[in-house]
Amino acid sequence: MQAAVEFQHISKRFGAVQANRDVSFSIAPGSIHGIIGENGAGKSTLMSILYGYYRADGGQLLINGTPQQIRNSQEAIDLGIGMVHQHFMLVENMTVLDNVMLGSEGGFRLAAHRKQVEASLREICQRYSLDVDPLAKIQDLSVGIQQRVEILKQIYRSANILILDEPTAVLTVQETASLFAVLRLFKEQGKTIILITHKLQEILDITDEVTVMRAGTVVGSVQTTNTNKEQLAELMVGRPIETHLPRGPYAPGETVLDVKGLNLINAQQVSLLKDLNFNIRAGEIVAIAGVSGNGQSELLEVLSGMRLPSSGAVTMQGKPLPFAGRKDADGLPATFRELGIAHVPEDRLRDAVVKNFSVMMNSFLGYQKKLGKAFGLLDYKAILKTCNELLSKFDVRPADPHLRIALLSGGNQQKVVMAREMASEPKLMLVGQPTRGVDIGTIESLHARLLAMRDAGVAILLVSVELEEVRALADRILVMSGGCITGELKVEEFDATRIGLLMGGLHKH
């Protein structure tokens, strides 16, 4: 049978980096084809070449057996190729409908086709059980729904070859399940799907064949049925991956953080956090599980001083956190850091790094006040030394402190952030989605570090939508839904079904 897509000796170079080197493999029509590989392995680059973003330096692309020159996305679209990007490609202040119409408006006057498109969107939503309001604005939708809009766009344009670049990185288990249901439907209709993910379970669950990339090259393609997680992981990383990380016995110390009656109401009078009560003790990891958008981000913001709560008492080692008497949180996080609260935020590119700063300049973001010497002068020699230590300790690649941090892969950026926050020797560590978009090798090392911190007696609050991660790290699990804590369980009692129900907002007291 003729391959839907065939890569022949594709190479692509960015400056000094060989992103793709002589990549050759093919994808059977009507199949779901997985691509895995470490951060920076060249997966996205390869897909960008297929979608006309980049021109390959060498090699050839065959679509349905015919060699093609794809020079821009329009040409890719014309060939029936659709792509769902890792970062959504949606215009936020427009409606779903406008986003779908964009690029295939059907004429100069929008009104002429709008009704028609809207009707066909509603029909598609029904057919694929995708619940999306065509007239909603993108900015009002949760990430899960935005993801659906991306899929909708592709269905509307009847793409036959669909590329999905880490589509599940920001999705919950349920959302992933419903995405996969749609993908299976596609497959039944004979469409070809290329799926990039860092989650091996997903590869096993849904793909027919999987290609593994490392450092720009293909290291192997295997039928999914003939493989398993361990084998794939080893192929990807080049060494066996430890799935069970060592951890000390559970022996929590004094209470570090105590939250009582915490409420947060936003400017639109929507209650985001409702009467939260919990504590975290030294030497334990408390995980907050839940579907994203249920108040976890806001909780982290409040506890890190980035946002003021509406009411409630939060004490840190017995002393109340200094919210009182403030009009806004401007500058407050500095005070919290001094109290020993470190914070790895969920959205690292937005909050945790300054993209145009070098790695070194980012290595002390938040701690700049501590480093100022006489006249507030910064001691770059000392900073460089510390930074180099951090880079080698956390195995950041490349370990170049003068590189602009934007040029590091997400996983390596995360290592820098984690290294920075851990180096501050906090008493309480707030960690949001630490391994989003990060490959399994890196996940392993980040997890090991968090556990080591716990064993050293730091109180850790982990927010994660990945139940796998929660299970691997947590001592206690709090489940949040709709701004409330709907349940608490010990890790020994871990039960995905029960957590799932709690995440859905079902109390079980």
Binding site: Y53, M89, V91, G103, S104, R109, L110
Partner: protein, 323 residues
């Protein structure tokens, strides 16, 4: 006349006359900025169009040829600005300011070279644009209020005034109800999304610049062949910047922006009227203080009454195909 005491009627008429300069420029800026290109060069384009319009109108003794030539030159400059900001991915603020400075000098030099009148073009005389007298004006002229309303407020302006007002709904329609408008907004808000949807970002931005060039030229032509009857160096006198302010004020939306322009027009007119008026308690307020009124009002409005205006997200950022 009805409002004789307050001279309110005169303020309204004057507002209508003042607004088009800003309105054309602001609408021009709207196209550019909605597509993601900051247009600080409105001033320069205006000046170039004012000069070329006046020079050609004088040479041909026909205002319409003048306007046409102004459109041409302004469009060419807009495309040059596009080349720098879009193709070369240069700093858009720099490009804008540079063009303003260069054109301020060049228009003078050329005017001086061709006409030898100190950077001024000769009087256009009959080659100016005439005011349109609405049919039946004579008949209603005597009727109180209606006469004023028909012959002075809505009648008796030049064609460009009507064009300026007609532009408001037109721009609104193009922006929100046409394919071009949809793409334009997408490109200015999230060019990566537009690109992924198969839209040629650069071409769309060039189209927007072309619109900006054409619209801005009317502003210049209005200055030279309607309001003054000749070109004089730097006659744009900051109007390009005021138009940008109106654009921010109007949140980059056509109707609100036009309203902003009218507001400026109104306060300018008001300021003219109350200069020299004796205020109870205050006495005669010095003219130089009264001249501040439009600007103070803008600051107050921006600071207080207005919700934060939200610029197109991708504004000022050249489109580069990777993150």
């Amino acid at each position: 006349m009805m409002f004789d005491d307050f001279q309110f009627s005169s303020i309204l008429v004057s507002t209508i006359r003042n607004a088009p300069v800003l309105m054309f420029a602001a609408m021009a800026g709207l196209f550019a900025e909605r597509s993601g290109v900051v247009d600080l060069a409105l001033e320069g384009k205006m000046l170039a169009a004012a000069f070329v319009s006046a020079a050609v109108a004088f040479a041909t003794q026909n205002p319409w040829f003048g306007i046409l030539a102004g459109v041409g030159i302004s469009a060419v400059i807009a495309l040059l600005q596009g080349f720098v900001s879009i193709t070369q991915k240069g700093n858009q603020l720099v490009a804008g300011i540079a063009l303003n400075i260069a054109l301020s000098g060049l228009t003078f030099v050329l005017a001086q070279f061709f006409f030898m009148q100190g950077g001024r073009t000769p009087d256009l005389g009959s080659a100016r644009l005439f005011d349109i007298v609405l049919p039946g004006s004579d008949a209603v002229a005597g009727i109180p209020f209606l006469g004023w309303f028909y012959t002075k407020l809505i009648g008796g302006h030049s064609a460009l005034v009507y064009l300026a007002f007609a532009l408001i709904p037109l721009v609104n329609w193009v922006l929100y109800h046409s394919r071009f408008g949809l793409r334009l907004r997408a490109v200015g808000e999230n060019p990566h999304a537009a690109d992924a949807a198969g839209i040629n970002v650069e071409r769309t931005r060039f189209m927007a610049m072309l619109c900006a060039g054409v619209l801005c030229s009317f502003s210049g032509a209005y200055l030279s062949i309607v309001q003054s009857g000749f070109f004089l160096r730097d006659m744009s006198a900051g109007n390009g910047y005021l138009a940008l302010t109106a654009l921010v004020f109007g949140n980059w939306r056509p109707l609100q922006t036009a309203l902003g322009c009218l507001m400026f027009g109104f306060f300018t007119a008001l300021q003219v009227q109350i200069e020299g008026v004796v205020f109870p308690g205050l006495g005669k307020v010095p003219g130089s203080l009264i001249q501040m009124i439009p600007y103070v009002v803008t600051v107050v409005v921006l600071a207080g009454l207005m919700a934060k205006s939200v610029a197109p997200k991708a504004i000022g950022v050249p489109f580069v195909k990777s993150r």
